[in-house]
């Protein structure tokens, strides 16, 4: 059972859709965690790539070591130098080992979440102490240092050379036909992204979500009402970073390679920021829409750009980024507050409140007064 091949104007539709879904799912998950931090709590996290890279590094280094250990593959004393051989042997063995295939994904996800949470906890220390602009730059610098560290420190993932490949846990499904293992990877990412969406939306609608907005809008007032803003910020950073780490791990299992320069601050810090800004900070539906539009523009332009080569005097590979950026700026010019604005906190529906309090008390009061979202 191989995946069908649908070629349309020279574009392999199935392959394109799988590619698109991978990127969309990952961007959705990462942007939603950023929305939780920035949109709801007001923490300007400019170090997002740090947590994603941490999770991805965990997936790359740990899965390779575990595969070598479980299958007792001879590493000849140097795992990094012999990684290609280890990966080949491991992939051949994973084909017949469903327990390992599922286990390694779950184990890596747990460890990546833990490492991400530790990084989040560490960055909560400056997040509480520093003013917003200082904090953003500090996290940017820390993320940059992490990348420099990965380049310099070879035992982990081989420095700038990287390790040649990661054991593919989805190789178990490779007997079913070409492309099926990629589809499984995509489905896992999609399921993860949906779970993250439901989770973040649940937080946003809960009393905790209203606490987050209260802390963002007026720290002193929320403190006066007895909300522990330090603890809340800490928790938000830990949770968001753990999810980012898991997204990084899934990314590694999808692209099957790790190296110090695989994750750049443009792709995993500035692009999620762009998605949150064009989608609308503090609105999960908006962020999902923003991620969709962003990914569609990015991938769509990459597919259709060659049709325009005859009409453009410069290399179309570079020109696509100019078009891409112009389109994003156009979106922002038309809708400066993002595609969907932040809505007033959702409370229980009126009918439910009436059953709780009895209808007489609520006859003339408006339950959810329309709040003007004032950013100034």
């Amino acid at each position: 059972m191989a995946l069908p091949e649908l070629v349309f104007f020279g574009i392999d539709i199935v392959k394109f859709l799988i590619d698109f879904a991978n990127l969309f799912g990952l961007f959705l998950a990462i942007s939603l965690t950023l929305n939780l931090e920035y949109g709801y709590t007001g923490i300007p996290n400019f170090g997002k790539v740090l947590y994603v890279a941490a999770g991805a590094v965990v997936a790359g280094s740990i899965s390779l070591r575990i595969a070598a250990w479980v299958y007792s593959i001879d590493t000849r004393g140097d795992l990094i130098a012999n990684s290609a051989r280890v990966v080949n042997q491991a992939n051949a063995l994973i084909k017949n080992d469903s327990f390992f295939a599922v286990g390694i994904v779950l184990l890596t996800l747990v460890i990546a979440a833990l490492i991400g949470a530790v990084f989040g906890y560490l960055s909560s220390y400056p997040a509480i102490k520093l003013r917003e602009d200082y904090l953003g730059m500090l996290l940017l610098a820390v993320a940059q240092f992490f990348q420099i560290f990965l380049r310099g420190y070879e035992p982990l993932i081989g420095g700038t050379q990287g390790i040649s490949g990661v054991p593919n846990p989805y190789a178990y499904w490779s007997d079913l036909g070409t492309g099926v293992k990629d589809l499984v990877s995509t489905l896992v990412i999609a399921a993860f992204a949906i779970l993250v969406y439901l989770y973040v939306e649940r937080i946003a609608r809960s009393p905790l979500g209203r606490t987050l907005r209260a802390i963002r809008d007026n720290e002193n007032a929320s403190r006066a009402l007895g909300k522990d803003d330090v603890a809340v910020r800490k928790r938000v950073l830990v949770v968001a970073s753990a999810i980012s780490g898991m997204a990084g791990a899934l990314l590694t299992f999808n692209v099957l390679s790790v190296g110090a320069d695989t994750w750049t601050r443009i792709t995993y810090t500035f692009w999620p920021w762009m998605i949150v800004i064009i989608g609308g900070a503090g609105n999960n539906v908006g962020v999902a829409l923003g991620a969709f539009i962003f990914t569609a523009l990015l991938k769509g332009l990459a597919q259709v750009k060659f049709f325009f080569q005859p009409y453009i005097p410069v290399d179309v590979n570079w020109f696509q980024y100019i078009v891409f950026a112009s389109l994003l700026i156009t979106i922002l010019m038309v809708r400066p507050e993002g595609i969907l604005r932040e809505k007033p906190s959702a409370t229980l529906p009126r009918s439910k409140l009436q059953t709780i309090f009895g209808s007489s008390e609520l006859r003339d009061t408006q339950i959810a007064p329309k709040k003007e979202v004032d950013k100034a």
Binding site: Y134, M137, L138, G152
Partner: protein, 232 residues
């Protein structure tokens, strides 16, 4: 050629200082960033002030870029390589101050250019100094601070200092870090050349959350004098 950039820096610092404190427009600039609604009430066109300050900022950054290219050459990726250091140096000094930017840029630049050399070739005397400072600091935390957490930190520092000192005294039987501190990390340290200023910036910001410029040296000195004069 090498004095052109410092000279420009000096002239620009003076000119910016005069602009921000002695001209009406400079005062309007500061007013509109401090409190936009109030500035509007006083008849300042805040949007236009923002626009003109963007103009200044872009022009000055372009000037810096032209000097950078004369001295170090340029590529298409120069901007994205430099951007983190630019952020770091403007933040390290402290926002809202010209001297802060000068100080921050100086610290980031010097630490990137020369500190890495020290790290790779060994600190020698400086390394010994660091060990002594570690022990002194641990003593301060252990015996002078009353807080439990400070004492814990002091105990940790004392342990680390004692370990390093013992290691050096015995001729590096176990130490990896202490040996490198004195004899140098070798050429491998140059991989971290871009990272050293970032680490310095992070540590500085954790100690001084509003940048170097926020330290009130006069008050600090006065406090110390009062404390030494007071009853012990």
């Amino acid at each position: 050629m090498f004095f052109v950039a410092p000279l420009t820096l000096a002239i620009l610092t003076v000119a910016l200082y005069l602009l921000l404190t002695r001209t009406k427009f400079g005062v309007a600039m500061r007013a509109s960033i401090e409190n936009p609604p109030l500035a509007r009430v006083l008849g300042i066109n805040v949007e236009r002030v923002y626009m003109i300050s963007w103009l200044f900022a872009g022009g000055l950054a372009g000037l810096a870029g032209s000097y950078h290219t004369i001295w170090l050459g340029g590529r298409t990726s120069t901007g994205s390589e430099l951007i983190v250091e630019i952020f770091a140096s403007s933040i390290l000094g402290g926002l809202g101050s010209i001297y802060g930017a000068v100080l921050g840029g100086l610290m980031i630049g010097v630490s990137e250019a020369s500190l890495t050399v020290y790290i790779s070739q060994g600190f020698g005397l400086i390394g010994t100094g660091i060990i002594v400072a570690l022990l002194l600091l641990s003593g301060v935390f252990l015996f002078l601070r009353k807080k439990k957490r400070a004492r814990l930190l002091g105990a940790l520092l004392a342990g680390l200092g004692a370990y390093v000192a013992a290691d050096v005294a015995l001729g590096f039987p176990t130490g990896f870090f202490s040996r490198d501190l004195v004899s140098g990390f070798g050429p491998g340290a140059f991989v971290y050349q871009k990272g050293v200023p970032l680490i310095i910036m992070v540590i500085a910001l954790l100690l001084l959350p509003k940048g170097l410029i926020s330290v009130e040296w006069k008050r600090l000195l006065r406090l110390r004098r009062v404390r030494s004069d007071g009853p012990t």
